[in-house]
C-alpha cells in the first residue's frame, strides 16, 4: 500500500508527458489521492514493504514507522496545498509530481542506495523549480552543490557497502562497523545531506533558490526541507547511532548564527526569509544532535512549527514581491494576508500565544536541565536577531506610507489558506500536544534502532 505513495505520482507524471494539457488536473488528482492514502495508512504503522518480493537485506524495502509516517504526512499535505495554486504552479505540474514521488521515496526507503537515487531526483526537480522566472544563475549554483552532495552521498554508500556487505539501512545499523571506517562514512553522509538540510557551509544556494521565484520556496522550504531533516535523524540516530553528532552540533550552531546575521543585513524580503529558514534548520539540527528522546521530539516539533510558519510567510511574500514594485505599507491593502504574515512571524520569533514559543521555551528548559548552556545562549541570541528583522519587516509592510499606488485584487484562496494555517499556529500554542504527541513517537522511532531492525527482519521471515 505505501508503495502507491511513490508510484501513483510517478505514473501520473508519465501520463502528463503524453498529454501536456492534462498535467495540472493530474497534479491535483495525484496530490489528493496521496493525502487520502496517507490517512488510510495510519492503521498499518509500523509495516515494511518488500519490493519485488526479494527479502531484505538482498532486495529493497520501504519502512513505514512512526517517524516516516509523520514525515510523509507533512510532505503530502504541503504538496496538496501547493497544487491548489494554479498560476503559481504554471507549467511545472509534471515536475512537482515527480518531486512528490521523490520526497515520498526518500522518506520511506530503507535502503541506502535507493535513498541516493531519490536524493538525485529531488535535486534534479529542485533545480528545475529553481529555474522558474529565468533564475538560471542560482539554479546552476544549486545544481553544482547538489551534484557535489550527490557524489559524496554515493561515495558514503559505497563505503558502507564495502564494510557492511549490503545496502540495507537495518543491516548497516545492526552491523558493527569499525571505528576508523564509520568516521569517514558519517562525515561523507554529513556533507551529502548537509546541502539539502542547509547545513553551514553548504547552504550557499538557499538564498538564491528561495529568493528567485514564487514556486520553489513554497515546496523546498517546507516539504523538501522536512524530508532532508528527517533523513538526518534517520541516518545519524537510527543507522549510525551516535557518530559525528559533535560535528553536527558545532556546524548547526554556526548555521544558526550565520543564518540569522545574514538575514539581519538582507534587504530583500524573500532572501531574508530564506536566511531565516537556514537558521531554523540549524536549530533543528542542533536539537537532533543532542540525541535524547526529549530533544529530538522537540526538534521535530520546532520543525513542524517552522514549516507551517514558513509556508504562510512565503505564500504571502511571494504574492507581494511579484505583484508590487514597492512594498511599503502594502498590508493596508491586504489586511488578511497581513494578519497571517504577522502571526507567522511572531510564531517564528517565539512570542507567547504562538506555536514557536512552545517549542523554543521547551528546548531552553530541557537544555538547562542537562546544564548545557551553549545552545540556549545561541538560541536566545538568534531570537533577539529574529525579533529585530521580523519586526522591522512587519513595521515596513504595515505602517510605512504607500508608495506603489496600484492595487492588485486580493487573492481569496491565498488569503484563506494563509489565515487558516496562521490560526493553526495559535491552536498549537493552546494545545501543543496535538503536535508533541506524534513528534514524541517520531523521536522514539528514530532512537530505537533495535525495533527498526527487528521490523525489517520480521518482514523477511514471512510476516508482512
Amino acid at each position: 500500500m505505501m508503495v502507491l505513495l511513490i508510484v501513483l505520482p510517478l505514473i501520473f507524471a508519465f501520463l502528463a508527458a503524453i498529454k501536456k494539457s492534462f498535467s495540472y488536473p493530474l497534479l491535483v488528482t495525484s496530490t489528493v489521492v496521496n493525502v487520502i492514502i496517507v490517512l488510510l495508512l495510519k492503521t498499518s504503522v509500523p509495516s515494511v514493504h518488500v519490493l519485488g518480493g526479494w527479502k531484505p537485506p538482498f532486495g529493497i524495502n520501504l519502512v513505514l514507522d512512526d517517524a516516516s509516517y509523520y514525515a510523509v504526512l507533512i510532505a503530502n499535505i504541503v504538496f496538496f496545498l501547493v497544487a491548489l495554486f494554479k498560476e503559481t504552479v504554471g507549467k511545472y505540474s509534471t515536475v512537482l509530481m515527480v518531486m512528490l514521488a521523490a520526497v515520498n521515496g526518500f522518506v520511506l526507503t530503507g535502503d541506502l542506495f535507493n535513498s541516493f537515487v531519490f536524493l538525485e531526483i529531488l535535486t534534479a526537480t529542485g533545480v528545475i523549480l529553481a529555474s522558474k522566472r529565468e533564475n538560471y544563475y542560482n539554479a546552476f549554483k544549486y545544481l553544482v552543490l547538489g551534484s557535489l552532495a550527490g557524489s559524496m552521498y554515493l561515495l558514503a554508500t559505497i563505503f558502507t557497502y564495502t564494510q557492511v556487505g549490503s545496502l540495507n539501512m537495518a543491516h548497516a545499523s545492526y552491523f558493527a562497523i569499525s571505528e576508523k571506517a564509520i568516521v569517514v562514512i558519517t562525515i561523507l553522509y554529513l556533507v551529502g545531506l548537509g546541502v539539502e538540510a542547509k547545513l553551514f557551509p553548504l547552504n550557499g544556494w538557499v538564498s538564491g533558490v528561495y529568493g528567485g521565484n514564487d514556486l520553489s520556496p513554497l515546496v523546498m522550504a517546507t516539504a523538501v526541507s522536512f524530508a532532508a531533516l528527517y533523513m538526518m535523524g534517520r541516518l545519524f540516530l537510527t543507522v549510525f547511532g551516535g557518530y559525528a553528532l559533535h560535528i553536527l552540533y558545532v556546524l548547526a550552531l554556526i548555521t544558526i548564527v550565520a543564518g540569522e546575521l545574514a538575514a539581519l543585513y538582507q534587504k530583500n524580503l524573500l532572501k531574508t526569509l530564506a536566511y531565516s529558514s537556514i537558521a531554523q534548520a540549524g536549530i533543528v539540527l542542533a536539537a537532533i544532535s543532542k540525541s535524547t528522546e526529549k530533544m529530538v521530539s522537540l526538534a521535530y516539533f520546532h520543525l513542524t512549527n517552522d514549516v507551517i510558519a514558513k509556508f504562510v510567510l512565503f505564500l504571502v511574500a511571494t504574492f507581494l514581491v511579484y505583484n508590487y514594485k514597492n512594498l511599503n505599507g502594502v498590508f493596508k491593502k491586504h489586511k488578511v494576508l497581513g494578519t497571517a504574515f504577522t502571526i507567522s512571524s511572531m510564531s517564528l520569533i517565539g512570542f507567547p500565544l504562538f506555536a514557536g514559543f512552545q517549542s523554543k521555551l521547551r528546548m531552553l528548559m530541557e537544555m538547562f536541565k542537562t546544564s548545557d548552556y551553549l545552545f540556549p545562549a545561541v538560541l536566545l541570541f538568534a531570537t533577539v536577531i529574529e525579533l529585530t528583522y521580523l519586526v522591522r519587516w512587519n513595521v515596513k509592510l504595515w505602517f510605512e506610507d504607500i508608495e506603489d499606488e496600484s492595487e492588485v485584487k486580493g487573492p481569496a484562496l491565498r488569503a484563506t489558506i494563509s489565515i487558516i494555517l496562521a490560526i493553526l499556529l495559535v491552536g498549537i500554542f493552546l494545545a501543543p500536544n496535538i503536535i508533541l504527541n506524534p513528534t514524541t513517537k517520531v523521536a522514539k522511532a528514530l532512537l530505537d534502532s533495535t525495533s527498526y531492525i527487528n521490523n525489517v527482519i520480521a518482514s523477511s521471515m514471512g510476516g508482512m
Binding site: V3, V7, L10, K180, V184, I457
Partner: protein, 256 residues
Amino acid sequence: MRRFYAILIAAALVYMLISFISTVPSYGKADLKERVSDAFLSKSVNAQNTKAWMEGKAIHRQPAKEIYGKKVKEEGSANVVTSIVVNYRSFDTLGEVTVLFTAALGVGLILGGSRRKQYGREANFVLKTSTGILVPLIIMFGAYIFVHGHLTPGGGFPGGTIIAMASLLLYLSDEKFFLSKASTGALEGSMGGTYVIIGLLGLAIGGYFLYNFLPNGVVGNLVSAGIVPLVYVAIGLKVGAELSGLVTDLHSEKEG
C-alpha cells in the same frame, strides 16, 4: 583565500579517503560470503535466512557454471548484471528512469523551442546517402541490444541511447527534419507508464511491487526471465524517445 580553502578541503578529503582505504580488504581477500552480491551471483536469495545471514551464517553456493540452458526457479536472466539491476533491485532502476525523465523534462522546460533551428549549411551527399542506409541498421542494433538485455551485455539504457543516435544522425544530415514533441512525449510517457503498470500488476498478483509474476523459463532463451525482457523493452523505447526528444530540444529554437 578561496584557493587556500579549496586546498584545505581537498586535503581533508584525500586524508579521509586514504584513511578509509586501510580498512578495505586487499585485492582478492574480501570475503564474498559477507556480501549480498554472493547470493545474487548464485541466485540463492530465497534460500537465505535473513537473521542467520546477518550473523555471518550465509549459505554459500558456488555460482553455477552450468546454469545456462537449465530452469532456475528463483531468477532467470543469463546476464547477471541484468538480474541485479532489473530484478533484485528493480526499484532503483525505476528511480534512474525517473532521473532521466526529469533531466529531459528540465531541458524541455528551459530551452522550450517549437521550431527547427536553421544553421544554413547543407550536409554533403556522402552523409545524406549513408544516413539512409545507416538509420535502419542503427535502430535495429539498438532494438537488438535492449531485446537481448537479459542475455547479453547491454540492456534498456544503452539500447535506447543507440536508437536516439539514429535521430541525431537524421538531425545532422537534414536541415528540415523535425520530430514533433508530441510523438516523442507520447512514446516516452506511455513506456514509462508501462514500467510502472508492470510493477503494479506484480503488486496485484504477488502482493509485492515489481514482483516477477511470469514464469522464468529456461536460462538463455529469448523468452525467459519473466518480466525482465518486458521491462527492458519498455526502458529501451522510453530512453530512445526521451533522448530523441532531448536532441530535438537542442536543435530547436523559440518562435520569433
